[in-house]
């Protein structure tokens, strides 16, 4: 039996997190298949055949998969999935939408947001907003797993020689339909895989000030993140939210500007290598998890940072 990875893509390019998931899958099996379900996806299928360790690309090309709707996609995965002992996908909103359905249809549990694989049935994940690690064992014969991308390296996208096989599903219901998508395009790196992130909190105060963070980000080649409070204040878009109910990140460097450090925010950043906090309050909780901090006003510090980085 092999392991199956569900590719994430936009019908044109493969999401890099898929490669992290392949690395996780390699810890479970030497024979890895990848499912690409979408519409007009031949280009991605071709790229996928070259991924290291992938032996088979399952290609499901149909307009019903074009927008990744959960119902047809989960029935497809369930129809082909019984040939596998493990089905993996990155812990993105896309697979969080689809995989629990697959698990339910197989009558098995989903193992969410796995950060470490100990053996074929034993996994580690963080619980309690990152305050504890849980080591758990699955009793199911098919493991449905979502993977914390930042905990696994990207697999090489060269060296593989996979064959392509077309698949389709017979039984599906179209009970939902796609209307539109508003993508917030950014030229900056993706948050969940970025090496450097600078984030702003409610204390940033305005959209204009938030732009200052973007200037610093561009100097550093960083991604820009935000707290829920900053998003709710209208300074940033929802896709920039980091934390328990947003994205989980683990960059080499995380710079938190005017962020108090609520447990729900820390839950999303606690795996960062180095945390820098800039806050006017020396007692802000973020300070207690920071490697370096500057106590001071962002109105003074951010422009200084820009000048300093320009040197």
């Amino acid at each position: 039996m092999s392991a199956l990875v569900i590719a994430e893509h936009n019908n044109i390019t493969l999401e890099p997190t898929t490669l992290n998931t392949i690395t996780a899958a390699k810890q479970l099996d030497e024979d890895i298949h990848i499912l690409i379900a979408g519409h007009m996806i031949y280009q991605i299928a071709d790229i996928a055949t070259k991924i290291d360790s992938v032996t088979k690309v399952l290609l499901a090309d149909n307009i019903i998969y074009a927008h990744g709707l959960a119902e047809p996609l989960s029935s497809l995965i369930t129809e082909i999935g019984h040939n596998y002992h493990a089905i993996l996908a990155s812990a993105t909103t896309h697979s969080k939408n689809v995989l629990p359905r697959v698990a339910a249809l197989f009558d098995v549990a989903q193992i969410s947001d796995v950060s470490n694989i100990i053996s074929n049935d034993t996994f580690i994940r963080q619980i309690y907003t990152g305050k504890a690690l849980e080591i758990l064992k699955s009793k199911d014969n098919i493991k449905i797993i979502t993977v914390r991308s930042s905990s696994f390296k990207e697999a090489k996208n060269t060296g593989g020689h996979a064959i392509i096989e077309t698949v389709s599903n017979k039984n599906y219901s179209l009970c939902s339909s796609f209307l539109s998508r508003q993508i917030n395009k950014s030229r900056r790196p993706e948050l969940i895989t970025s090496k450097i992130i600078i984030s702003g909190g409610r204390g940033i105060g305005s959209i204009e000030n938030f732009k200052l963070l973007e200037v610093v980000a561009d100097k550093l080649g960083a991604a820009v993140g935000a707290t829920r409070a900053a998003v709710d204040s209208g300074f940033a878009t929802t896709d920039m939210q980091i934390g328990q109910s947003g994205k989980i990140v683990s960059p080499e460097l995380y710079i938190a500007v005017a962020i108090s450090g609520a447990p729900q925010h820390i839950a999303g950043i606690s795996d960062s290598k180095i945390i820098v906090a800039i806050n006017k309050d020396k007692d802000a909780p973020i300070i207690s998890i920071a490697d370096y901090f500057i106590v001071g006003d962002l109105y003074q510090i951010l422009p200084e940072l820009v000048t300093e980085l320009n040197k």
Binding site: A70, R101, A104, K195, I196, I274, S288, L305
Partner: protein, 248 residues
């Protein structure tokens, strides 16, 4: 339209959680249960839809140990019409088991829409709604921050990793919501008093479903120590110097 709202009792996060000495599991004795915050938004949304005349009845359902029953009263005080409490004393139920129990309630009540929170603040799994939708074969809208009821379907805006997505769901449907969908109200004193008179059906998990045992076994829980003794830097120049050595 009849709406079922699923609410989870969770431990108040202000209460410090405990790991037992033998590293086995978190100790739930004497802790206070509250409604999972995301589920509060689910109730609020149902109540607003009822106030707007789009919903005729709101049934709130919860599954938990008997000492968590108080959360049903809270939900009724927010404006739900009646409650169903499924007592489950022993092991903590996993999402698949919760979904199976909710499916039974859905078949019994036949709502046009089930609303729940997109995740819970304790396990953070975010699976139950999707599992329920799949088991019922109903349509699904997750991570919803806006919900519009049309005559024959429901339109939702979903928060996805790179932006927002709008999809249309045929009825019946299962929806999971984000905190951003609304701002839950405070229950007024008169509503709290009224809630005491609202009907609550008390059922038992083992009577409803014989297939709710856990599929995942916790072997160990380890506390992660995050505290650092960070270095206080006087200015930006010092920061850049430090970071030059370490990363940039």
């Amino acid at each position: 339209m009849k709406v079922l709202v699923a609410v989870k009792p969770v431990i108040d996060c202000d209460v410090k959680f405990l790991i037992k000495e033998d590293n086995s599991r978190i100790n739930f004795n004497n802790l206070k249960f509250i409604i999972n915050p995301f589920d509060e938004n689910a109730i609020e949304e149902a109540v607003r839809l009822k106030e707007a005349g789009k919903v005729s009845e709101i049934i709130v359902v919860s599954i938990g140990p008997s000492q968590s029953k108080n959360i049903i009263f809270t939900a009724l005080a927010f404006g739900a019409d009646r409650g169903i409490f499924i007592v489950n004393e022993d092991t903590k139920l996993q999402p698949l088991a919760i979904a199976k129990l909710l499916k039974i309630i859905a078949i019994r009540e036949l709502p046009a829409m089930i609303i729940a929170g997109k995740q819970s603040i304790d396990d953070n799994l975010g699976q139950t709604g999707q599992m329920l939708s799949a088991l019922l074969g109903w349509s699904q809208g997750t991570f919803v921050s806006k919900l519009i009821i049309n005559s024959t379907n429901v339109e939702v805006i979903r928060e996805i990793d790179n932006g927002l997505e709008t999809i249309v769901l045929s009825l019946p449907t299962v929806i999971t919501v984000d905190l951003r969908i609304n701002k839950p109200r405070y229950a007024s004193l008169s509503n709290i008093i009224k809630a005491k008179k609202k009907p609550i059906d008390i059922l038992s998990s083992i009577d409803l479903c014989n297939d709710i045992s856990p599929h995942l076994i916790t072997l160990k829980i380890e506390e992660l120590k995050r505290h650092k003794f960070g270095i206080n830097l006087a200015n930006v120049t010092e920061l850049i110097d430090k970071l030059k050595i370490k990363v940039i």
